[in-house]
């Protein structure tokens, strides 16, 4: 019983949140990694693109909700997702045409593109706040829980609850599907391979008859899909607030880099490394130990390695340690 309680507590406070957060980061990192791999720069506008995608989806979701359309237990937002993706795709492709293409044609140094993306970030930042405002928006509906803590306690008779939110399960499942799809696409399809070829050697791709503009467009389309899905899932799970999406940028980059920039598998792994290091290192073991140890030994302090103040710092230290032993990231950060 005590052991069960300990396991449940750990699952509830470490495992499940870590999985969900990890998947969210992974989805974001995938997009970052893809742009890095194929278009050769780190896209600082990524967080705000996620916000944009989520925003469009939210607006459509509200429309559906107002007209009474819903998905039952699943969030209506899923129904609105294709619209969000389409809107984001439109925005990204337009941005590319208006902004990035020029620099590609000029053969500008990639770092210029990075800074350009910073400019785009500022602009998208403005647009999103302009349309939906800086406030928190709630758009989740459907069943919030698959298992709620209270029900679990009643059902199992344990002291500890176990909660699994619909959004958490959705996030993990989606992440798995998306990654599998992306892999299949890049390694097995003609278009996917042409994207890798372009990523490897632009000139030679051109000389092989691959149309660079098409590759670029495809990339943005995929990125639109990835960012919107990531943005919406994150919004469903936590809440939508433009500023948070900007803040997400940092852990997302950390995830992409620790996994090995440019490598999709790495993005996934990186997401989990970052998420779990944040959750575990600062976890206070008092409760778990309290269940496991006999009463006499029960800890009086929190048994916490470091206070949560340093949560962020800790995840970076972990990151540095990983890089110490695997300097190119967990998976060789080379190309898509």
């Amino acid at each position: 019983m005590e052991l069960l309680n300990a396991i449940v507590a750990l699952t509830n406070y470490v495992l499940i949140p870590g999985m969900a957060y990890g998947s969210q980061l992974a989805l974001g990192a995938l997009g970052v990694t893809l742009i890095y791999g194929i278009l050769r720069f780190s896209n600082f506008a990524h967080g705000d693109t996620m916000a944009f995608g989520a925003m469009i989806t939210i607006l459509v979701t509200w429309g559906f909700q107002a007209s009474g359309i819903s998905l039952g237990v699943l969030p209506t937002a899923l129904l609105a997702l294709p619209f969000g993706i389409a809107g984001t795709a439109l925005l990204l492709v337009a941005t590319d045409r208006v902004v990035y293409r020029f620099y590609r044609e000029q053969k500008a140094k990639p770092v210029i593109l990075v800074i350009v993306s910073l400019g785009v970030m500022f602009i998208m930042n403005g647009i999103v706040r302009f349309i939906i405002g800086p406030d928190d928006q709630n758009f989740a509906d459907g069943a919030r829980f698959i298992i709620s803590a209270r029900d679990f306690k009643a059902w199992s008779g344990l002291d500890e609850g176990l909660a699994l939110r619909t959004s958490q399960a959705l996030t993990v499942v989606t992440a798995v599907i998306v990654v599998a799809l992306l892999f299949w696409f890049l390694n097995r399809t003609r278009t996917g391979k042409s994207m890798r070829a372009y990523s490897d050697n632009e000139d030679l791709a051109l000389l092989s008859g691959i149309n660079p503009e098409r590759v670029v467009t495809y990339t943005w389309l995929i990125v639109a899909g990835l960012t919107t899905v990531a943005g919406v899932l994150y919004g469903l799970d936590k809440s939508f607030k433009p500023f948070t999406y900007f803040q997400l940028l940092l852990p997302i980059f950390a995830a992409a880099i620790v996994g090995g920039l440019g490598n999709p598998l790495g993005a996934i792994a990186g997401g989990f490394v970052i998420a779990f290091s944040e959750v575990t290192i600062t976890y206070a073991w008092k409760k778990v130990l309290g269940y496991l140890l006999p009463d006499s030994l029960e800890p009086s302090s929190l048994v916490q390695l470091l206070s949560t103040d340093y949560k962020f710092a800790v995840s970076f230290v972990i990151l540095l340690i990983v890089l110490l032993f695997k300097p190119t990231g967990l998976f060789r950060g080379k190309s898509v």
Binding site: E105, L113, V114, N201, D203, L204, S208, G209
Partner: protein
């Protein structure tokens, strides 16, 4: 330049931007191909004048032509503009004078991609493979514009370069210099091009491979594909050449059959190393 040996080259911006592979082919707006009445060779760059970007002219009234069944070889000192002439023919730089004709069409306005679609194949001097992709994928990419079944072509390429079959699944970037060269030529052959352009295909390959490469090049040309190539192994190249061009400072200095040039004392002395 992504090459396994040089992985660490310039740490620059490697963590926010990816280096390597970034193109040098300048962007240009394409135009249509126009029928041309001019009666001339199958592929000809006629009186080409031009240079890089806004820089000075590198080529001056340079003419290069090749016909089906022919091998045309360009030789000349380093920096003469041989590679530049090839790039000009392939539309990788803006001509300030002259034009390029292919099969009775003026293709001067076409972009490089369009020229690939018209059946031109090109192996650049450097950066001529996809380093992160497997050898097989490199060949597949060579056949990118082909919609038909290209397995037999691939088998032919493997026949020609058996080592490639062996390393089929290895990343091309992990091959040695000579092996990479073989991949590059193989990739170009995969297009089944109407005309093949090679920039120093034998640089750095071992004698045995070089012989085979030359043999294969002759074979390819016998199938009726015109071949235009730049060579520094000029004597071997001129031996198999139907036509030879000696370029000096972007101008045609000598033109003739391969044999003629080999026999020409001045050419031998100044360009072929005696």
């Amino acid at each position: 330049m992504s090459n396994p040996y040089h992985d660490d080259r310039g740490n620059k911006d490697a963590s926010i931007t990816r280096r390597g592979g970034a193109g040098e082919i300048p962007y240009r707006k394409g135009g249509p191909a126009v029928k041309s009445e001019a009666k001339s060779a199958f592929l000809i760059g006629e009186t080409m004048t031009g240079g890089y970007g806004k820089g000075p002219d590198i080529l001056h009234d340079c003419t290069i032509a090749v016909d089906p069944g022919e091998i045309a070889v360009i030789v000349g000192p380093n920096g003469a503009g041989k590679s530049t002439a090839m790039k000009a023919v392939f539309g990788m730089l803006d001509l300030r004078g002259g034009h390029v004709l292919l099969d009775g069409e003026d293709i001067s306005a076409l972009t490089p991609q369009d020229r690939v679609a018209k059946g031109m194949g090109f192996v650049p001097q450097t950066n001529n493979i996809f380093t992160s992709m497997s050898v097989e994928e490199n060949l597949e990419m060579g056949a990118f514009i082909r919609r038909d079944d290209f397995r037999d072509t691939m088998a032919q390429v493997y026949d020609l370069f058996p080592i490639l079959k062996e390393k089929r699944l290895q990343a091309a970037g992990e091959l040695s210099g000579g092996q990479r060269q073989q991949v590059a030529v193989g990739r170009a052959l995969m297009t089944k091009p109407k005309v093949l352009m090679l920039d120093e295909p034998t640089a750095g390959v071992s004698p045995i491979v070089m012989d085979e490469l030359f043999d294969r090049i002759i074979e390819v040309s016998r199938t009726g594909i015109p071949i235009l190539m730049v060579e520094q192994n000029a004597r071997q190249a001129l031996e198999i050449a139907d036509k030879g061009y000696v370029l000096v400072q972007g101008r045609n200095a000598h033109t003739g059959t391969g044999k003629d040039l080999l026999a020409d004392d001045e050419v031998r002395r100044s360009f072929l190393g005696g």
